[in-house]
């Protein structure tokens, strides 16, 4: 029978190993610019959840014993660097888990006095990228699909594989159905996406849950209709309490509204409110649910609330101008975003005027919201 002191000592050793391993992984991840990853930045969001920034749109990763699940794949040009970053994170996580396992392994008799068991353990290869989830269909979020999928693998069988010979080739790619539609029906002058870059698993209702836990937690895709586009999903890591928000939340620009592909200002606002509905702060309205933006830094509910407030206030101003019959030129001249422009109005590729125009056109195309606006 193991005495209390021995159990306490063992517990402390385990806790120390876990803490040291976790801290080590965090420290390395936060400072890491792994070889081959170039200028990509890696930030640990939660225990097994990581952000890779600098590859176009932000990439959220779940890394662990089940392999890798990626939310978005960055640009095509960044794929090699992203893969190098993924492998680095996998090695760090594997080191951490090995340290925990070594500390928690039950040792019997002579094995406690021998290193043979440890020394004979081969180094297991890292698991493949098994899933890529596309939050929408912008090139900086799906551009890496082709290369990264090819480096991955789908474990399949049973009622899934059937007699499809190549069902296990490459990662599975999950997305809302409209992502597949948009990728296979490109605009005039643009080429169709390669078949291997297309989503392999789509959904068309409100939500899609992965059929089993991945790296110890449920993962859920939630559709946000007619927001940035008509194919938006957020990805909710339910155990880690992390939401990958795609381009519905950005800390670098006004929300991009792709009107020609089903986006709308009111859809963006509704999506932000739904993200807030799902979020819980840890203390004093910060921490708790962490929300990975499509571009920029990691946020939480307070950050999303600031962003929701800003978008709603600007929507209300332009809505008021539309009600008064003002033309777009008049609206633009009135500078309804003046107070937020120094913060969000200078993003490359999405100017303040583009945003105002998108909001204006969106509101002109849809009936005014029935909820009261302005001061209450």
């Amino acid at each position: 029978m193991i005495g209390y002191a021995a159990r306490l000592t063992a517990s402390l050793a385990v806790a120390a190993a876990i803490a040291a391993a976790g801290a080590s992984t965090l420290a390395r991840a936060q400072q890491a610019q792994p070889a081959g990853a170039g200028d990509l930045q890696i930030v640990q969001v939660r225990q097994n959840i990581f952000l890779i920034a600098g590859a176009g749109g932000n990439i959220t990763l779940s890394v662990g014993k089940d392999g890798v699940l990626m939310v978005d794949s960055g640009t095509d040009a960044s794929a090699d660097r992203v893969l190098a970053a993924v492998r680095q994170i996998q090695r760090d996580v594997a080191d951490r888990e090995a340290a925990i396992e070594a500390a928690t392994r039950i040792k019997w008799g002579a094995e406690t006095r021998s290193t043979v068991v440890l020394e004979r353990d081969p180094i297991a290869p890292v698991k493949p990228i098994r899933y890529i989830i596309n939050t929408h269909f912008d090139p900086e979020h799906i551009g890496g699909n082709l290369q990264l999928r090819a480096s991955g693998r789908t474990f399949t069988g049973g009622n899934v594989a059937g007699n499809i010979a190549d069902a296990a080739e490459g990662s599975a790619i999950m997305a809302h159905e409209n992502v597949l539609v948009r990728m296979t029906r490109p605009d005039a002058g643009q080429s169709e996406a390669p078949a291997d870059a297309l989503p392999t698993d789509t959904y068309y209702r409100d939500t899609m849950k992965m059929s089993h836990f991945f790296n110890g937690e449920g993962v859920q895709l939630i559709h946000m209709p007619n927001a940035h586009s008509d194919g938006d999903s957020i990805v909710y890591f339910r155990g880690s309490d992390v939401i990958a928000a795609g381009d519905l939340f950005s800390t670098t620009s006004y929300p991009v509204i792709d009107l020609d592909r089903g986006g709308s200002i009111n859809g963006v606002i509704e999506a932000l409110n739904r993200i807030l509905d799902l979020s819980m702060a840890e203390f004093r309205t910060e921490g708790g649910t962490m929300i990975v933006s499509g571009h920029g830094r990691i946020g939480d509910a307070a950050d999303v609330a600031y962003y929701r407030d800003m978008v709603t206030i600007i929507r209300d101003r332009i809505q008021d101008m539309v009600r008064k019959g003002m033309t777009f030129e008049q609206v633009k001249a009135a500078r309804p975003t003046l107070d937020y422009d120094p913060r969000y109005g200078n993003a490359p590729g999405w100017s303040m005027d583009q945003f105002v125009e998108a909001v204006y056109r969106s509101l002109r195309a849809t009936p005014p919201p029935t909820t009261p606006r302005g001061r209450t």
């Binding site: 400072q31 309205t285 921490g287 003046l338 009261p372």
Partner: protein
Amino acid sequence: MRTGNECKILVRGRIAVQLERVLMVSHLFRVVTLAVLAIALGTPAWAQIDFSGEWAPRIWEDAPERVPGPELGDYLGIPINEAARMRGDTWSASIQTLPEWQCRPHSADYIWRGPSQLKIWKEVDAVSREIVAFHAEWLRSVDRPVYLDGRPHPPEQAPHTWAGFSTGRWEGSMLTITTTHLKEGYLRRNGLPRSDKATIVEHWIRAGDFLTAAVIMHDPVYLTEPFMRTSDYEFLPTQNIPPYPCGIVQEVDRARGVVPHFLPGTNPYLIEFPRRWGIPVEATRGGAATMYPEYRATLRSLPPPPAETRAGNR
């Protein structure tokens, strides 16, 4: 001619003087040696002065702002740009009834101005006994560590918090602190914003039982010049900060998605401040010029605020 005894006394006296000189030199040597050693071995992690303890705010400085809060539309003496001015003009205090706004603490830069008591404690490395960090916590804030152990600030994409991420270095007995990674906050509690892009530099200065914090805000989004404020606290060892639980409730029955604000040009309350104090409206709009003494000459040339009409228009 001296007697034998006189000679003995003289010799003893000379010996005593010599001995005293030796001792003085020895003492001086020790002092110099210790000073040199202190300089050579001293590291930034050793406290030049200890800020630990309980501190009570001395709120006679700017008391109306620090307890009830500033008046709406009072932007005097703050180097804001037109964007910040518009944020203030369109701000409605009712926004603080939204669930996401309730229980928010003041940010690290503004909390010094609150009426809250302050506790500072030091985190000490168990082996080296060097100070890892000072932790500051007010009644209505979150724990705010100020690291002195040389750790770097987090990467750009890391989360921002109300406390931000602070590192400190000694300048003599003054602690100079740089804070990044702040969430958006406010310059004043009347809607003037401070962005999450801001960097805050603080100087903590202790003079006996008094602590002065000079807070300098550098905000590329909403300020045209750095904005500096000082706040004073007094050592109060009998103080014990109580818990401050905060519950989020539904304060106002409003439709989902409504965010309270004023449409531009419709805030009726902005005129109250200049009218109450007889200050020209233009002066109340703030800006860098209003920070400087020379602005008094400009004030004299500005028209007084418009009087209230019989209909009570604002």
